[in-house]
């Protein structure tokens, strides 16, 4: 009852919270970045300083745009807080645990938190850098930081500038920083910051808090989300990409693309729920028409085929020229815009299996077994040649999952 009441109050206040709390978690389930040891650290923090007190403090902190949208400032604030509270990193986990931020923001803040201002040795390749060429970029960087721009964003702009000048390699960036310091474009401290950012490869971060906040608030202005949902599917780490699907979405697509992809799934869902999909044939020779209603599974496969077609169509459009959409991303986008609920998420995502079936380990082993069996049936002389054939038949007939008989398939789709 108590939980329900809290949930109810939460649902009531959630939309009002949206306008102020930049990364308030409304979509993600269990955090992929908080394991058992981090949970223990969070519990210890709560015990030591009180959950309510910490919650009040961080809620206020993340309602200030200048703080919330810059990881460097967040870390700075946490460092200041460290005088009163031990364990800066633990505090970052506390903020996530309180849902004041989500995993995407957490990941950025954690990365920023790990950057250390260590001593850096000047580059030996200074000769490859034209000092006049880089001056403008460093002065711009300096001005931006002085104007209060988030340092990691200012650094990314600087790297963009240097890349345009042809300084694309890590060695080039190091050398450019050395030259800039030597020429007095930047101070010793600024040099230290730039070098630590370079070492931490901040310019390769797919997303900064600023970018994320810009995308997220633009999206949330367009759509109404009905409260918090726990989508574990979008939070799980994709081992290949080393990030979650949601993180991948915000790192590669802007809010307009996300809206477009969400719309695809919204339509697919409506089509899947339809009980009446027909093919209309208008005869060429007269005005007669013929209507062929589709059966339930035909409707199902038709809808999936249509989605594939639409996916290919948006991928061929200019809007998706640089970042092609795939099915998992489209489903994540639809969850992000609220077209799909958390409980439907995995089920919808699994539909990809229908046109793109994954081969299980058992299947792979069976196909190897079948191959060896065939080879053995040729190599082993008669009359024992039939034994591997028999083994292959057993594999096919008993162990392998039955496949629909294509002769029996009378479906239109």
């Amino acid at each position: 009852m108590k939980t329900k009441l809290i949930l109810f109050v939460f649902v009531l206040i959630a939309p009002s919270v949206l306008g102020h709390d930049y990364f308030f978690n409304l979509r993600e389930g269990e955090s992929r970045l908080i394991g058992d040891s981090e949970k223990a650290r969070v519990r210890a923090m709560y015990q030591k300083y009180g959950k309510n007190k910490l919650e009040g403090h961080f809620t206020d902190m993340f309602q200030t745009k200048e703080i919330a949208t810059c990881a460097s400032v967040v870390v700075k604030k946490l460092t200041l807080l460290e005088a009163q509270v031990d364990g800066r990193e633990s505090l970052v986990y506390v903020i996530r645990d309180l849902n004041i931020i989500d995993d995407i923001a957490l990941d950025i803040i954690l990365k920023r938190n790990k950057i250390k201002y260590e001593k850096s040795f000047p580059s030996l390749k200074n000769g490859s850098i034209n000092k006049n060429n880089i001056r403008e970029g460093y002065l711009k960087f300096k001005k931006q930081v002085m104007d209060g721009r988030c340092s990691e964003n200012a650094y990314s702009s600087l790297v963009g500038f240097l890349n345009d000048k042809g300084y694309t390699k890590n060695g080039h960036l190091k050398a450019a920083n050395s030259v800039a310091k030597k020429m007095g474009y930047i101070t010793k401290n600024e040099y230290k910051v730039l070098e630590s950012f370079r070492r931490a490869k901040v310019h390769h971060w797919p997303l900064t808090l600023k970018d994320y906040s810009r995308n997220l608030s633009a999206l949330r202005r367009q759509i109404d989300l009905y409260g918090y949902e726990e989508g574990n599917f979008v939070t799980k780490e994709n081992k290949k990409a080393k990030m979650s699907l949601r993180q991948y979405l915000y790192s590669n697509y802007d809010y307009l693309q996300i809206l477009m992809m969400g719309d695809l799934v919204e339509k697919m869902r409506k089509r899947l729920e339809s009980f009446d999909i027909s093919i209309l044939i208008r005869y060429a020779d007269d005005e007669q028409t013929e209507v062929i209603p589709l059966e339930p599974t035909e409707r199902f496969r038709f809808v999936l085929k249509l989605l594939r077609k639409e996916l290919a169509q948006i991928n061929s459009s200019n809007i998706f020229e640089f970042s092609k959409a795939n099915y998992a991303v489209v489903i994540t986008a639809s969850y992000e815009v609220g077209s799909v609920s958390a409980v439907e998420l995995e089920e919808l995502a699994s539909l990809e299996e229908i046109w793109n079936p994954k081969r299980s380990r058992k299947d792979r082993m069976m196909s190897w077994g079948r191959m060896f069996g065939r080879v053995a049936s040729v190599i082993i002389p008669g009359p024992f040649g039939f034994l591997p054939v028999l083994a292959v038949m057993v594999v096919d007939g008993i162990v392998t999952e039955p496949k629909p008989d294509s002769d029996q398939d009378i479906s239109l789709f």
Binding site: L272, E347, I354, S377, P381, G385, F386, M393, P402, D405
Partner: protein, 404 residues
């Protein structure tokens, strides 16, 4: 005065039996927890008579009689049948009324249950002439009839008929011999593969020039290859004989003593407000199978009961794929629909049986599996599934993976 006392006693017994119903313990065939069929003592409830199988909801009669079988009539085997049918029919009714909350079943008038009846059913005359082809080894639910007053044939309500068992030879059964066809199908693939391998071996020897060399070992190898093919071909050609040799030759079914058959027949009646029981179809048989399985709490029907049934029974076969033949009346008793409904129930969870019971309002006896039945399940799910949007997609996936 004494007469008055007797009249009063009889009256009070009659009245109390009308209100409360009698109970009596009888031997019936029932299932153990391990699904073994055994004769056990069970309580027969809701009896309206103190000396016969005449209850509030069911009256068990012998053949064409209208009077309920007395507890002391006929032999022990007939008594066992009467008690077994009475017991399991009440259990089935209870399921529909209490679990599925069926108003239709609740409002059903008392059903007449005929055991050991040999006559065929006649839509006009209730019973076909005694001289016509006596019926054995099955059970059927018959629709109500208006009767034929000019021939003194009274109207009748829905009834369930259980035939006596009779040992018959397989040759009398007719129809497709599924075992034989299936084995032949598997062996065909094996035989083709073996011939192909022998041919490949022969070709490789031919290309290497070994086939025509005069060495004794090479000739022997070629002979062995040919021998393998001949053996496999021989096995393939004699499949039918082998199957005939090893399979069951005689069959019999005492339908009144198989609990799941009793449930199945009552399920037909419980579904008959929408699914006419005039004839069998894959859909109405599958629906009845599903509810029989639910009442029996089993994924198998009429199995493990060799004393009373030598036919194969039915099973939920998870891997069974859809074939277009399943739509035909010839396959009315296949177990595809049973398995499909069982899988669909799992998706709807606890509300699955209610969801599937309501499917009957959206289909007819002759509805197709691939169209109307699936459509009915999907529509019923919209009303009864716990998470309709999600369960709708899960059902569509299930149907797809079943090859429909």
């Amino acid at each position: 005065m004494k007469n008055w006392k007797t009249v009063l006693l009889t009256l009070s017994i009659t009245l109390s039996s009308q209100i409360f119903g009698f109970e009596i313990e009888k031997n019936v065939v029932a299932r153990t927890k391990e699904f073994e069929a055994k004769i056990m003592t069970r309580k027969l409830v809701d009896l309206e008579s103190i000396d016969s199988y005449d209850g509030k909801f069911f009256k068990i009669v012998y053949k064409k009689n209208e009077e309920a079988i007395k507890f002391y009539e006929h032999d022990g085997h007939t008594q066992l049948k009467a008690a077994t049918t009475y017991y399991h029919l009440n259990k089935a009714r209870k399921y529909f009324v209490e679990v599925l909350k069926s108003e239709f079943v609740k409002s059903l008038p008392k059903l007449t249950i005929r055991i050991d009846i040999l006559n065929k059913f006649s839509e006009l005359g209730h019973f076909a002439n005694d001289n016509l082809d006596p019926q054995f080894n099955n059970a059927l639910s018959i629709p109500a009839g208006l009767g034929y007053p000019r021939r003194r044939i009274a109207p009748w309500n829905n009834e369930i008929w259980f035939r006596p068992s009779k040992r018959i030879h397989i040759s009398e059964l007719g129809g497709n011999d599924r075992d034989k066809v299936q084995l032949k199908y598997i062996l065909k693939a094996y035989r083709n593969q073996t011939h192909m391998v022998s041919f490949q071996n022969f070709l490789s020897k031919l290309l290497l020039g070994d086939a025509w060399s005069s060495s004794a070992s090479t000739v022997s190898n070629v002979m062995r290859l040919a021998g393998t093919s001949v053996i496999v071909e021989g096995i393939f050609q004699s499949t039918g004989i082998a199957v005939d040799l090893f399979k069951q030759k005689y069959y019999r079914l005492d339908s009144a003593l198989v609990p799941e058959i009793i449930y199945h027949e009552f399920a037909h009646v419980a579904l008959s407000d929408h699914l006419a029981i005039t004839h069998s179809s894959p859909v109405n048989e599958g629906m009845a199978d599903y509810f029989a399985g639910k009442i029996a709490n089993s994924k198998q029907l009429a199995t493990k009961i060799k004393d009373y049934n030598l036919f194969s029974g039915k099973k939920v076969r998870k891997k069974q794929m859809y074939r277009y033949e399943f739509e035909s009346q010839e396959y009315a008793n296949a177990d595809f629909v049973f398995g499909l409904l069982y899988e669909a129930e799992k998706i709807a969870g606890e509300k699955g049986p209610v969801m599937l019971y309501n499917v009957r309002t959206r289909i007819e006896t002759d509805s197709s599996i691939r169209n109307k039945l699936l459509d009915g399940i999907l529509r019923s799910c919209q009303l009864h599934c716990p998470i309709p949007g999600l369960n709708h997609i899960q059902l569509l996936k299930l149907f797809h993976y079943k090859g429909i």
